[in-house]
Symmetry: C2
Subunit: 325 residues, 2 copies
């Protein structure tokens, strides 16, 4: 970085990129201009810090870039919106190798494209730690935003996407196990690049949608707890519906608890929603519990024993799984 | 931070805040929803890193928060757009005192309000350095964006706002001079909280606007250089029009060069624009040069001797003023 400088690296990052149709004016001016055909836009921002949210010895720059976009795109989709564009501020040490930066950029662009958008602009500054700050935008297409507050007693709780596999991948990486073992491949891949099932939400056009929706970023119980609090309801999760024999096999080989990964792991960026009773769930969704009157989240009718998920600064207090996110 | 944890501090930061009218859904869900009445929105993002863009022993948390918003709002206004909302991702060490965070938040909110918007959401994570990543949004009100590429030979170059005072403040702080000296008060205040003259652009309704516009963030010559390159023109700046006797007095007392602060200092976040010849400049704007055929930026017809402004990672190469931004 020190040799090329900010402007040359920015040129390198942006060379040959094609902006999504929503990006009316891309990088190179004081600001970008993005289409908001709906007259509103949805926005979410997340910061990823080296050593805390990712490690360069555990993931490639491309994987880190993809993960940074995926977790933000999942927030946009969790509002029922279609991702349109992203901006990315990047802080990095002066001795960062340029291929790290171009790899990150490639990952950012790959996942932005997968989510339906592009990287419309950014900032590149000098910092001691590698820090990636992504802001994501989406369009609601004239529909109401699907918030966390619409769940009603009697609704079915359903999930789209995998749960626990990212936590399993982190456990594998932390364990010193043989990373080349085929049994660990899916867990490692999921931890390195979560694959939010965008289509499970975005293809709902014409179907009956969820009454409330969130992405599972902090942990299933934690995120359902936020949803329950916002909606003024209680949620009970059925552990049998969450069982995953393949994940259980990984857990056994590490002497770990798959149920804890499923209930308190979060970085898979699955979607959790509530649906009016009697709704036939659309493709990709599976029932995992019910909404009742009251407050809080229970598992099979009882208070969860382990932690419920991730909270920054207090990580160790709430994540007995040892997640470092 | 460690004692309260992420969620309690977020509650503390957001308590009692009133969102601007453009913010349709504020913090607390997966994402925020912002009005874009124009069917487009303008977006800019900047990252500020402790020790590089600010120092807690040189500025209060409130001042740092204000500066973080001001420099982003200036980018929005420099497109001819009216700021509507901001999102802020904050990384901070676990031993950060909570009043630092609440002070930052107060500063963010104060300047957001001054610029016409509010803080619609954010992220709070654990990092080794204090890092503030602001993304700003604006609405063009049906007008075309004013880019850097519209300058034409024969246009007048004009500036709104002060130049060099932020660089002077940094020089005062770096010099070990008596910070309480009244002669330094304005320089220090400007460095700590730049005051972009938003109204000089936003009140142009009905007036003939600039053909090209930018904010002065990297340094006057550097930013005019970007504008000249984007427009395919040359810019000549008249040093006599930039002279500032008050700033010269500060420079003399530090044995520094006021002209260099004016030409290569940037963080005042003044606005520089080009106007068709014969336009009567609106209030707040003063002519400082002319646009010609060719390329590059000259001062009184000759190549500038000193540096032209700031570039991350290569700071020392291009800023003989010793700016640490």
């Amino acid at each position: 970085m020190r040799e090329l400088g900010e402007f040359a690296v920015i040129d390198l990052i942006n060379a040959g990129r094609e902006q999504a149709a929503h990006v009316l004016l891309g990088p190179g001016d004081d600001a970008a201009v993005i289409a908001a055909p709906d007259g509103r836009f949805v926005v979410s921002t997340d910061m990823l810090v080296e050593g805390r949210h990712f490690r360069l010895d555990w993931s490639s720059p491309v994987e880190i870039g993809r993960k940074a976009i995926a977790q933000n795109a999942a927030d946009i989709v969790a509002m029922g919106a279609r991702p349109t564009a992203f901006v990315v501020a990047l802080g990095c040490p002066a001795d960062t190798a340029v291929p790290v930066i171009t790899g990150l950029a490639d990952g950012l662009w790959t996942e932005a494209s997968r989510a339906g958008g592009s990287v419309a602009g950014g900032d590149l500054v000098h910092s001691e730690q590698l820090v990636i700050s992504v802001t994501a935008f989406g369009d609601l297409g004239g529909q109401a935003a699907v918030t966390r507050s619409g769940a009603r007693a009697g609704d079915v709780v359903a999930v789209a996407g995998e749960l626990g596999w990212s936590a399993a991948g982190l456990a594998v990486l932390s364990s010193g196990a043989d990373l080349s073992a085929p049994a660990f491949a899916h867990a490692l891949a999921t931890h390195r690049v979560p694959r939010p099932p965008y289509a499970a939400v975005l293809d709902l056009t014409g179907e009956v949608g969820p009454t409330a929706l969130t992405d599972v970023s902090d942990g299933l119980l934690a995120d359902l707890g936020h949803l329950a609090a916002a909606s003024g309801v209680a949620v009970d999760v059925h552990s049998a519906a969450l069982a995953d024999p393949d994940l259980a096999a990984v857990a056994r080989s590490l002497d770990a608890d798959a149920a804890q990964w499923i209930l308190a792991g979060g970085e898979d960026h699955a979607f959790a929603g509530t649906w009016a009773a009697g709704t036939s769930l659309p493709p990709g969704w599976r029932p995992i519990g019910v909404v009742g009157a009251g407050s809080g989240v229970t598992v099979d009718g009882t208070e969860p024993a382990g932690g419920t998920g991730w909270e920054s600064f207090r990580g160790a207090d709430v994540t007995p799984t040892g997640r470092k996110r």
